[in-house]
Each structure stands twice: as C-alpha cells, then as structure tokens.
Symmetry: C2
Subunit: 592 residues, 2 copies
C-alpha cells in the first residue's frame, strides 16, 4: 500500500526547497503551478496503481538469467511500457530529442514516488537518465542523433559500467581496454561487475556506457575514456542490426532489490565489443562524474522513497493492530498500538527523518536547476557549488535515514515485521544497498570534507551556515512555545557546525589530511542534521497560517527532530575535532 | 569464519563482570580457573569447527515443513547430536537430573560462542534451557522425574508457547484453553504462533510449555496457567508412547534465522492435546517469567554473538581488500582499506559496541548467579534486583548493537556486502529479530523504567550509578592522557544518568505515567551506554599492566566509545525529560 504524499511533496517543493525561484527565472514561464500540480497528480496515480504493486512481485520473483538473457519479474515489462508511453522517461530530457525539458526538482519529486512504488523497478530509468545526461553533455552530434531520442523516450535504456572486481571505489585500478579500430569506433574488452539492469527484456536495446583505457593511456584516472557500447548495433536508418559482443556472465544473488538485475558483463569475449567514444579520449572521468553526481542525488531519493513507504505502512499497522491499553484508556478491551507513547515516538521519528531527506534532496535538485537557469555566471557558479555541497549530504543522510526508517518500520510491526509476507522486511533489504553504491557514504563524507568544503575558500559552506542561522533567528523571533526548544537547539547546532567547519578548513589548510579524514563521517552527519532541522523549521514557519491539520505535524516534526536528534550536534562536533587522535594511533590489525 | 575471542571472553568474565566473586562463594570451590579455561577452550573448538559452518547451510536451506513434520537443514541433526553428547546442554542444569550445576556466567560465555557460530542453530538449546529452568523451579516431582533428565541432557528439547495471532505482547488477550480431565491432566486447545523449534527432527521428543486458560479462570493475566505438553507421551518406563494431539500448522518465511523453524502450532485439533500443569493453576505467568527473564538475557547474547562474528569478518575483509591508497602511503599500488581512517573508525566502533554488549551481558549473568549463591537474604535480594535491572538493558542494548554492528559489517564490505554469498548480509537479517522477540526493545525500556527503577525505592539503580561514579573517579585519578576524554565524558554521562533517573522516579511518584513512558527508550539507551562505557573503562584500568597488545585495544575501545558515543548522554537526558510534551500532544493519526 502506498499513497503519494502529494500535499507534502508540493509544499516541500514550494515552501522549503525554492521552486518559486525557478518559476521566476526567464524562460520558465510555462512552469506554472497548474502544470506542476497536473504532473505530480498523474505521477502519483501511476506510482500508486501501477508501480507499487510490482514491489512484492519483483522481490519474490527476482530477475533471472535464462540462456544468456535476463528475464525481468512478471508484469514488469508491461508496466515499464505503459510508463514510458506515458512520457515519464522524457520529463527532463532535451526538447530537441523529444524531452520535455522540465527541471530537476520535478524529476526528483516524481522519482520519489516511483522509488516508493518500487525502488528495484525505478533503478532502470534512473540509470537511463544518467546515460541521457552524459550523452547530452559530452556526446558528439552523431552519437546524439543515433541514441538520444530513444534513450530520452525510454524506448532504450542505459547502463553505467565502472566497477571491476579489483576496482570498486578506486577507478585508478581500472583495466578494461579500448583499441581504436580506425573508423572512429573502438574495440572494447574487459569485465564489469555490479551493472544495474545490465540486461533485461523490457526494451529492444540497451546502451552501455563503459569506462576503459586506450592502449597509450596514462596510468590512473587521467587515462580513462568513456564509450557508448550498444547491445544491438543501430543502423543508419535507426533500425537494429547485429548483436554486439556483449554478454551477461552472471546475475547476483542479493540482499534486496531482487527485481533489479545486477549483472556481471563481459565485453569482447568473441573478438571485441564495438563502442564509440563519448567526449574526449582520456577524459572519461569528467563524463562519468556528470552521470555520477546526478546518480548520487538519485540514490538519496531512493532512501527518501523507501522511508516514506515504510512510514506509511508502519503508521497504518499501528492504527490497526491492537495490543495492550493506553494509559487512562476508557475503551473496552485493547487499544491500537498507536496510542502508546513509545510507538508515537517511533512514528514521529520516522516521519521527521523522511521529511528531512525530502527537504535536502529537493533543495539539492533546486540548486542543480538554478546552476542551469540562473541568469549570470556568478550565480551559476554559486548554485553549482551549492549543488556540489548538498549532493553528498543528500546521498548519505537520506540513505542512512532510509535504512533507519525501514528498520524502525520492522520494529513497529513487531514479530510480523520479521515475516517476509508483511513487506516491512523487504524495505530494509532494499534500502540497505543505498548507503553503499554510487560511492559509499564514507566516500560521500570524504567528498564533502575534502572537495566541497574548500570551494570558494570555504565561502560556499559558510553561506549555507548563514542561511540556517537566519532560519534559527526567525524561529526565535516567532516561537510562541509551540516549537519547544527548536530555536535554542538550532542555535547550538549551527554554532557546532560552524566550529566543526572552520576546524575542517583549518586542518586541510595545515595539511592535516588524515585528521580531516578521520572526522569526515561525523562531520557529514552534523551538517546533515543541522541543515535538515533548519529546513524542517523553515517548513514549520511557512505553515504558521495553514489549517491546523497541516500546521500541527510540521510543527511537531520540526520540534521533535530538534529535541531528539539535533542534540547530537555537540558530541558530533567533539567527535569531528577529537577522534583523529585515537583513530590515527592504531593499526586495524591491532584490533584482531 | 569465526575464531572465539577466548582471551577477551575470559578477561571480561574475570576482570569486568566479577567471576572472582562467584568463585569465592561457599560451595564453588570446584569452579577453578583451570576448569573454566578448559570449558571455554573446548566450547571454542566446537563453536568454530562444528557450529560455525552450519550458518550458511541453514540460511540457504531453511528448515522445512514436510508432511506435517519439520526437517532441519542438512547436517544440523548430526552437529546437534555431537553437541549434546559433548554434555553442552547440561552445563547449568541441576546435578540431580544430570546437570553440571555450573553458573550462568559460563552459560552466557559459551552461548556467545554458539550464537556467533550460528544463532539459528543455538535457538534450539536456548529454548530448552528456558523449559528446564521453568520445570526445575515450578514443576512437580512427577513432572521433574518424567522430563528433566532428558531435557537437561538435550535428548529432548523444549519450546515456549505464549503468542497467539491476536495476542503478541499482551498476554491479557490470550485465549488457548485448558480443561481438567480429572486424572490430573488437562485437555489443551488453541493455536500458538511464532513457536521457535516448535517441531524438528534433531531429537525424538519435544516438550512444549504452553500458556492456556482454565474454564473458570479470571480474565487477564491472573487467569493464565502453564502446561507441559509433550509431542510424544512418555510412558512410566521412560519410553515414548503415542503422539499427542499437537500439529504444526505452518512454518514462517522469515527475513533471517532461516535454519530455525518458526512454527504455528495447533493444539487439540483432534479432540484435545493432553498436558500437565506446571506450578499452580492461574499462576502460569510467574512460571513464564522464569523462562522469559533468562530468555531475555539469552537474546542479548545473540546480539553479542552476531556482533562479534560480524566484526571479525569485517576486520578480516578490510585487511585483505585493497582499494585506494593511504595518506602518505609508500607502498606500490593500492593499500588494504583498513588503512583508511573512516574504515578504522568503523572497525573501532564495531569492536567497542561488541565489547560493551559482552560486558553488560556477563555482568547480568553474574548478578543472576550471585542472587542464587550469595550467603544471606539481603545480598540475594540485592543481586536479584541487580539482575532485574540489568536484564532489559542487556537485552535491548545488545540487540540494538547487534543490528548496528551487522549493518556496519555490510558497509565495510562495500558492494560485496550486499551479495548474499559474502555472508555479511545474513548477519543483519539474523540479528534483526533480536530487538523484537522476548519483548520488543520498547517493552524492555518500559520494563526498566516502570518496574526496575522503582525497586527498593530507587536505591538499586542508585547503587549502580554509584559504582559507575567510582570507576569514573579511578579513571580521573589514573589518566595519563592515553585514555583521552574518557574521564570527563564518563563524569558527564553519570551526572546525566543521575538526573534522568531522578526525573523518572519523580515522574512515577507523581503519577505521570505517560510522561515516563514517553522517555523510556532514550532512558534505556542512556543507562546502557553509560554503564557500557563504565565497564569498558573498568576493563581498561584492569589492563594497565598488561602487555601492550592486550592493553592497547582496551584503552582504545574505552576512550573511543566515550569520545564518540557517550557524548549522546546530554541529548538523551534532555530527550528523557523533555520529549513527553511533544509526544503526548498528538494522536498518531494526525501524522497521516
């Protein structure tokens, strides 16, 4: 069961994440409230009625490798076909190739719904989106002409081939080879693992984006190039030709997302797979980062989608399941478990974590859109840096919250939560991959600390901190008691974030790289919960005059998140600035 | 792969949890260091060589219901047979019935190893232990004569039948019926769910302990009686007779512990299952609590066992897997991931959480033993209350840590962690039941706050707090810098625990039950991490003169747990004393 939280989604887009600012940009006149409402409403219907029912089916009937081809779960192909025929794959694509050119904010909002419906299903278009972006930005006009229209429509899908058995997070070690044929094409050979939807039967063709090295390429990441390698060759008239030398060597048996085939792909086992360069030789990493940054936000949205669904199911169960009696209950017999304070605490925690994930993911999408739409270079730079700053936070915090909320969802269901038929356990199994792929959350923290904090000499992160401070001031000016300790907790957390940030910037300036790395994980959490609390507070303040039924949960979420989670800011700050001493003083082998 | 951490287990028993005090009790002369070492060493061997290899087998080949009987996973019966023939089931049993009469502390230590080997396997004897204890304490001499010897040896196993579909945590609602036959036996009828090892093929007979209501029983929990219902009747000569009217209606399809059959049991479908009363009519709850309290500690030990194994596997993987290069690395090529500060942080966190769980579980077992062995009534009462106080903490904190550590173990393995063949994912799936069964961790928190804190007018919890204060003083007197901020963090945490405790006691004295319930979960965590940090500190101080290889990890664990986790004490205290205002101000339905 899933009902898209349409009013919360629209509210977060508009009042928290800044959709209005997008609508006000030149050229965005068509992006009306009516259009947005219509799109969200139709997406909600499709997610609820068509995608959500796939989720158990895919879990119980995983995608299978049969005679070298992957067969997806029963019913998936039909839903995928209706989904792309509905134009959903083309939402953000370039209008020149059939896309609707809508902003990322809408993309993220509808992908929240698709993921809540079925994360395993949604992974397929998530990867296609990445391929579309890489080709739009870096592809030659020939490549665009050949692939972009069908990838934009979703008639074909895309994949992303980075990982090799010995090279997971470290692309320096990548070994796949590409040899120029002489006619502009390249012979690709090598094995890639963990390839999401590396093969499937939902479309006629799959376009693989593959990282490989040219014969004379420099060592390390400066010697990597990106290639488009189609499953079937595409003739000049657009029809499909021969099959390329690309085979599926296996499909993984995973903890979750069973409906999503995770393939081991072999390129060139029979003479060489043919591929075409995307971008320039040895500059593949830049192209890959185009895909990867958006994919990181997309993974954050997976955490968000699962959290929302797990929360809804836990709430419904707690209102239905009767056990024990509430304090002072006057009912005859047992009460729903939702009356017990500990259950209410858990539900409130699930809902506020979900809303924090939503607010941060949408704010990140807003920054990406502004980086494209802002009228001048200075603003473009500001928003591009903002998107860079928010991306690792959106990815790591939302996926950690996704796992937490799914686990709390099991807990709410008690013994039934451990029984697979209930569905609560699947959410935890599915959610558990999100803190790992597209760069583990540890790597996100390192990216945040080492690459993102130093942007503009630290002024980008300082500007974010100032914005949270302003929200805190508004809370303090406005608080009539209904927001509890929100103002003071937010003040304290921002101060802690500021201290930890300046410590990090100073550590790097002093060349204390190991010290900075040792504190990266608590730093990301500190930044994430402080920003999240700020955005919940912003939402609460924006609801001040809303009807009580809308205002009350937003006030509750903001205050309770501050009172239960934000207090971590002080120990997190201590951890950031203190942990290195212990961590750097031992070798892991000494723990054996 | 599992290697029992023998030196850590022995150290924790002796230097942290108080085994020496047990050995000094009158009648415990035979409990020598040599005997203990021999038992632990043999158990380690059995756990490593025999039980640990069962773990994947059981996961991949779940126990199955075939023609009304449960068939366990391949090889399980053989290992069980060797295990009980080795005398392991009889460790703590009454010598009158073939038991070895050894203390709980040893029981818990060897069960840590069995659970690390395979939690699903170990559940079977865990339940038998509970049945033995209930019959030892409450059974008539006829019942004892008939069942105790074979249950003590493990030739038969026991089960615990509380839950019914409509009555999980709330035993008031229990409906199973018992009608006196007239010959001292009772006809039992009704359905029970979630019955661990409700049926299996590892032994000839299973003795079910079943809660049911007599026809004239008062409503609620004061009308529940406990019965022994054998799968096969036992003739007077000890041979097995006819099959009782007990059937397995189904086996659950669960997230984890696949090797452990979780059965739906039907009693009396064909005229009535015959059972015999344990203890007095309508006093079944008291008997059940005998089983349940020990079972709660046993579940805590499951969290501990899985945490230890997940840690060991993650450490081994991190020392083996190469990705990236350490800061300032002079090696040629990639370094093991264990050199990265974020990985070291994670490993240290896993190890210190595991050690906290071990220390608290062992301390709880020590209190149980002292309650039995202490020479006078006053001390017996003190230790019985101490065991009561520690039981919910041992259960909830250790199982929460078990889930956390297993999840971190997946994270350390990166993408491989999500692949089932690696084994890391199974630990999370298995561990996830432990915070749920034997009373959810929310219920443990309520038990701690509502029943345990008020013991002796609050003086029992105050005495525990004093003991932690003394440890903190020793740390402060002793700290040469190697223990970092441990002393000051421990001081602050004890003060927070004291404040929260007095607030809880006052809330209850003032009849503010809902307020106390709203803060129960953060209170338990506050008490658990403070006690845990105190015990880690005790262990560190006891290692002051130990060789560096032993001392260093204990110092590291104590300091790093304090510097990274104990800082939560202030926000937890605020949460305990503050959260009720928000939580009591809404109905769950308002979150929809």
């Amino acid at each position: 069961m899933y009902r898209a939280p349409l009013s919360e989604i629209a509210f977060t887009l508009k009042e928290v994440a800044g959709l209005g600012q997008l609508q006000a940009q030149p050229g965005q006149e068509e992006l009306s409230d009516d259009l947005i409402e219509a799109i969200l409403g139709e997406a909600a219907k499709f997610a609820e009625e068509e995608i959500a029912p796939l989720n158990r089916v895919g879990d119980e009937n995983p995608a299978q490798l049969i005679n070298g081809s992957v067969k997806t779960s029963p019913g998936w192909k039909d839903v995928y076909t209706r989904w792309r025929e509905g134009g959903w794959n083309a939402l953000t694509g370039d209008p020149e190739f059939g896309g609707q050119g809508l902003p990322n904010m809408l993309h993220v909002a509808v992908f929240e719904m698709w993921n809540a419906g079925s994360m395993a299903f949604t992974l397929c278009p998530t990867l296609t989106t990445g391929a579309v972006e890489a080709i739009e930005k870096h592809g030659s006009s020939e490549l665009k002409a050949k692939y972009l229209e069908k990838l934009t429509s979703g008639e074909w899908t895309g994949t992303m081939n980075l990982t090799e058995p010995h090279a997971g997070s470290d692309l320096n070690a990548l070994r796949a080879k590409a040899e120029p044929v002489g006619d502009g094409s390249y012979k690709i050979s090598g094995q890639k693992i963990f390839i999401t939807y590396g093969d499937h039967d939902m479309t006629d063709n799959v376009i693989h984006l593959v990282l490989a090295r040219l014969p004379d390429a420099p060592a390390g990441t400066r010697g990597i190039s990106l290639f488009a390698v189609p499953k079937y060759f595409v003739n000049d008239d657009g029809s499909l030709g021969e099959k390329n030398d690309v085979t599926v060597a296996g499909v993984e048996h995973k903890l979750g997302i069973h409906g999503s085939p995770t393939c081991t792909m072999s390129y060139g086992d029979n003479g060489g797979a043919i591929g075409w360069l995307i971008g320039e030789e040895n500059r593949g990493l830049a192209c890959m980062f185009t895909m990867m940054n958006n994919a990181r936000l997309a993974v954050g949205v997976q955490g968000l989608g699962i959290a929302e669904r797990a929360f809804q199911e836990a709430l419904a169960y707690s209102l239905d399941r009767k056990q024990g009696r509430g304090v002072g209950s006057k009912t005859d017999g047992m009460d729903p478990i939702a009356v017990h304070p500990d259950i209410k605490r858990t539900l409130l925690s699930m809902k506020s974590q979900t809303q924090v994930a939503r607010a941060i993911c949408y704010a990140c999408a807003h920054a990406l859109d502004m980086a494209k739409l802002a009228p001048d270079a200075e603003q473009k730079k500001f928003w591009s840096e903002r998107a860079g700053l928010l991306t690792p936070i959106a990815k790591a915090l939302s996926t950690d919250f996704g796992v937490d909320v799914a686990s709390l969802g099991i807990q709410i269901h008690g013994g039934m939560g451990f029984i697979e038929e209930t569905g609560a356990a699947q959410h935890l199994r599915d959610a558990r991959i999100a803190p790992i792929y597209e760069g583990t959350n540890g790597i996100q923290s390192i990216d945040l600390v080492m690459r993102k904090l130093p942007m503009s000499g630290g002024d980008q992160v300082r500007s974010l901190i100032s914005e949270i401070k302003e929200i805190a001031s508004s809370v303090n000016a406005d608080n009539t008691g209904e927001l509890g300790d929100l103002g003071s907790k937010l003040d304290a957390a921002v101060a802690d974030l500021e201290t930890a940030t300046e410590w990090m910037l100073a550590a790097q300036a002093d060349g204390k790289v190991s010290e900075a790395l040792a504190g990266a994980t608590p730093y990301l959490r500190l930044a994430g919960i402080t920003l999240g609390a700020g955005l919940l507070a912003k939402g609460a303040l924006a609801s001040k005059s809303a009807p009580e039924a809308l205002k009350k949960p937003r006030y509750l979420m903001a205050r309770s998140f501050a009172e239960t989670v934000l207090g971590e800011s002080a120990p997190l700050k201590d951890d950031v600035t203190r942990a290195a001493e212990a961590i750097l003083a031992f070798d892991a082998a000494e723990l054996a």
